[in-house]
């Protein structure tokens, strides 16, 4: 008697569930009248899990809605037999990429049910093959869990070797991982070995050859073995990552004459799967390492930024303006402005050799020691002498060194003194004259010689004079032809600036330096300008401008950093939080535009921010060196207004008082955002 299919369902269900989940297919069994009896597995491809099959009474077919959205999947149907008679239908939804066959699945199920009477020949061929592949899939399913337990490459190698030995019947072997940078020169980056008595591995040349084939290869030699080839049956199985061999499993046996082709095939499959896990481990490792380093740099950078003087340095009748641009996130330059006493200030400008975390740390240490020495009221040359002692012994001849200009200035008499440790000489311009005076005493670099002494020189300024300190990043800035900016040009600019205020002079010089070297800085740039005497121009007297600059590569991922910098500086200036938030939002929008449309996500130039607080207004100037990334203003558009940039523009207009865009010739764009601030 023919069994009723529905009565077989409890028996079929575990098997069907298992098959469907292991093979990544969906299986449905319907009765002859179309009733759904059993649904198992998930529809393959990117479709919602809830996409159940539906029996269409009109067509008499099972339909998956997924079929309309998943061109990668296809449905197969086959009669389901019992006692030689069709009792229902098996439906199978499979990814097109697989060759799993509905008939074979049906036969397997029928056999499992003991319901097979007919088609015995077919069963022998197809079902046994399917059983093998079912077992294989199961094995890999298990294997995946085992590989996944490995925490590092070495563990993975050990697991892989054990698994391959078990599957092939080998008794000994090794796993070799190639050094990533030198393919096919096998350095034992990671290896495990199960010894077979005397070590009998094939030579690297042989392994290399097998790896190039990309398939498991038999590498055993004649019975005696050769220098290259072991006498024992030995196979080399490549471990690939994305098709490229990155290592190999070598398996040997003593007890048998050879390895079967099937065993080699299984070993190859195992190694392929291990390659996937190896790749995962490596990528995870790289991500963790990259995250760690970038966090370290971020900490160092934010620490170092805090060390630069902020807007808090205020002397009633002394104008101070400075620009600082770091090439690396961690800069080698630094400057400092300190009160020594109510009537004396100290200005430090220094350049630490190198651009690395080490340079950043050295700068930090030097700054702390210098501050301590300055506080003690020492003379400038004594400050340098003592600093050199500390650095010489601390640096332990590491090859790092510091150039430093140390200047003390009496803000009542405008008499000053200075000492110089191998730094570019400061100079000043007298108020009326066009002549420059160079503070040209010099001495050895800090940290190189033991027991160095320095000369102290004196000078006297008068209100209106302009004193300029800088690092070699300015005179040595090179344009594309390799010409240096030069000290003469710097001096000429100061002469030309006449009696302009300190901030103006800094702006002018920095603009010229940028034009000279529009794309990339090659060295840090520091510029400090001091002008005895208050600002000219009446009501602005009490509100000296404070200005800082920041420059980073124009990559999207640097934008949070820019934002962070902006927020910190504004907070330093006691700008209220709502204003900070608005400006941060606007700056983020502009910079995103620059990175995305200007540099087209290639970070092919820098983004530079100049932040100025003057007379209760914050001005943020955002500079880039990109081609015009917005269409040039059309004739009917007013110049000075941003061309359409999407919703970002409306947003920017909403949060700041004024937006100004201009094309910079010969290169780049400038966006200026202005917002009045309420001091908190």
């Amino acid at each position: 008697m023919t069994p009723e299919l529905s009565s077989l369902i409890p028996e079929l269900k575990p098997l069907v569930d298992d098959l469907a989940s292991v093979m990544g297919i969906a299986l449905v069994i319907t009765a002859k009248d179309g009733r759904l009896l059993l649904v198992a597995g998930q529809t393959p491809g990117d479709v919602p899990e809830a996409d159940d099959p539906i029996f269409n009474a009109h067509t008499g077919r099972i339909e998956w809605r997924a079929l309309r959205t998943t061109p990668d999947a296809e449905t197969q149907e086959t009669p389901f037999h019992a006692a030689g008679e069709a009792i229902g239908t098996l439906w199978l939804l499979r990814p097109r990429s697989t060759s799993i066959d509905a008939t074979a699945v049906a036969i397997l199920l029928e056999r499992e049910l003991g319901a097979v009477h007919a088609r015995q020949d077919e069963v022998d061929g197809m079902a046994s093959e399917l059983l093998t592949s079912y077992e294989e899939i199961n094995r890999f399913y298990e294997l995946a869990k085992v590989f996944d337990a490995a925490n590092n490459e070495n563990e993975l190698c050990k697991i892989l070797l054990c698994q391959v030995l078990a599957a092939t019947g080998g008794e000994g072997g090794a796993v070799i991982l190639l050094d990533g940078d030198t393919p096919f020169i096998a350095t034992l980056a990671g290896a495990v070995e199960l010894s077979l008595g005397e070590r009998q591995l094939p030579s690297y040349a042989i392994v290399d050859h097998a790896l190039r084939r990309g398939l498991a290869s038999n590498v055993s030699g004649s019975t005696e073995g050769t220098a290259d080839r072991p006498s024992r049956p030995t196979i080399v199985v490549p471990v690939p990552i994305k098709g490229n061999p990155v290592g190999a499993v070598i398996v040997q046996t003593q007890n048998r004459a050879f390895f079967h082709a099937g065993e080699m095939k299984i070993a190859q499959s195992m190694c392929s799967q291990a390659g996937v896990f190896l790749n995962n481990l490596r990528q995870a490792g790289r991500l963790i390492e990259a995250a760690r380093i970038s966090r370290d740099i971020e900490v160092a950078e934010s620490f170092q930024r805090q060390l630069l003087p902020t807007g808090k340095f205020k002397i009633p009748n002394l104008q101070v303006a400075a620009a600082y641009l770091a090439t690396n996130q961690i800069g080698g330059d630094y400057y400092d402005l300190l009160h020594v006493s109510p009537h004396e200030v100290c200005v430090i400008v220094a350049d630490v050799s190198g651009h690395s975390i080490a340079s950043g740390l050295l700068m930090t240490a030097a700054r702390s020691v210098t501050r301590l020495l300055v506080e003690q009221g020492l003379t400038s040359n004594e400050i340098l002498r003592r600093l050199n002692e500390v650095l010489y012994h601390d640096l332990d001849r590491s090859g790092h060194f510091i150039s430093m200009f140390c200047l003390l200035l009496n803000v009542e008499t405008w008499e000053g003194s200075y000492a110089n440790a191998g730094h570019n000489p400061a100079f000043w311009r007298t108020d009326r004259g066009t002549m420059l005076k160079t503070l040209d005493a010099t001495g050895p670099l800090l940290g190189i010689f033991d027991g160095t002494t320095f000369e102290q020189e004196h000078f006297a300024m008068t209100p209106g004079d302009t004193l300029v300190l800088y690092t070699d990043g300015i005179p040595e800035a090179r344009n594309e032809q390799g010409d240096m900016f030069g000290e003469e040009r710097l001096q000429a600019l100061v002469v030309r600036a006449g009696s302009g205020n300190a901030q103006r002079i800094v702006d002018d010089i920095m603009m010229e330096v940028r034009q000279h070297q529009p794309h990339r800085l090659t060295d840090d740039v520091t510029l400090v300008v001091l002008k005895p005497g208050a600002l000219t121009g009446g009501p602005e007297l009490e509100k000296a401008a404070t200005s800082v600059s920041y420059r980073v590569s124009g990559a999207l991922e640097n934008i949070p950093q820019i934002r962070h910098w902006l927020e910190e500086r504004l907070a330093d200036w006691s700008v209220s939080q709502p204003v900070i938030d608005d400006l941060a939002l606007a700056v983020t929008e502009v910079c995103t535009n620059v990175a995305r449309h200007g540099y087209q996500n290639k970070a092919s130039g820098d983004i530079e921010l100049e932040l100025t607080l003057e007379g209760g207004t914050v001005r943020v100037c955002i500079l880039d060196t990109a081609a015009p990334y917005q269409p040039a203003p059309r004739p009917q558009e007013r110049t000075g207004e941003l061309a359409e940039g999407g919703y970002g523009l409306a947003l920017i207009h909403n949060v700041v008082d004024h937006v100004h865009y201009e094309r910079r010739e010969p290169i780049g764009n400038r966006v200026v955002l202005v917002k009045s601030v309420s001091r908190s």
Binding site: S353, L395, R397, S398, G399, F401, S403, G422, P425, T442, G443, P444, L445, G447, I448, F449, G451, T452, D472, E476
Partner: protein
């Protein structure tokens, strides 16, 4: 412009290398007398800074040997002497040094000196 720096203290040669390379000069470095002599022949520097206390052949011997080679009779050789070592200095000048530089020295003085030499250098190969 090619500069040969000879000193057995790596932090000093490192500093000079950075200093000169930054200004666009080529720099060769030796930390002993034998290497120095070898490099002079091989690299044909335009100027040489020579420490006196070297392992192996000392600075005096290096200077003396070089002056006996006609090709190097006019090579500017600046000996690096420590402060207060007047005897060394005199002896160095006696064996043919062009001039001496007292350690510790200002990098700017050295850079100025090299620039002056570079300006005097004939434009073609000597």
């Amino acid at each position: 412009m090619k500069i040969l720096v000879v000193d057995d203290e790596p932090h000093i040669t490192h500093m000079l290398r950075v200093l000169f390379q930054k200004r666009g000069y080529q720099v060769a470095v030796a930390d002993n007398g034998e290497t120095a002599l070898d490099l002079v022949h091989r690299e044909q520097p335009d100027v040489m800074f020579l420490d006196l206390n070297l392992p192996g052949k000392n600075g005096f011997q290096v200077c003396e040997e070089l002056r006996q080679v006609p090709q190097f009779q006019n090579l500017p050789i600046f000996i690096l002497t420590a402060q207060g070592q007047d005897l060394d200095r005199e002896r160095g000048m006696a064996v043919g040094a062009t001039d001496y530089i007292t350690k510790p020295f200002s990098p700017r003085h050295l850079a100025d000196l090299v620039q002056e030499l570079a300006e005097r250098l004939p434009s073609g190969p000597a």
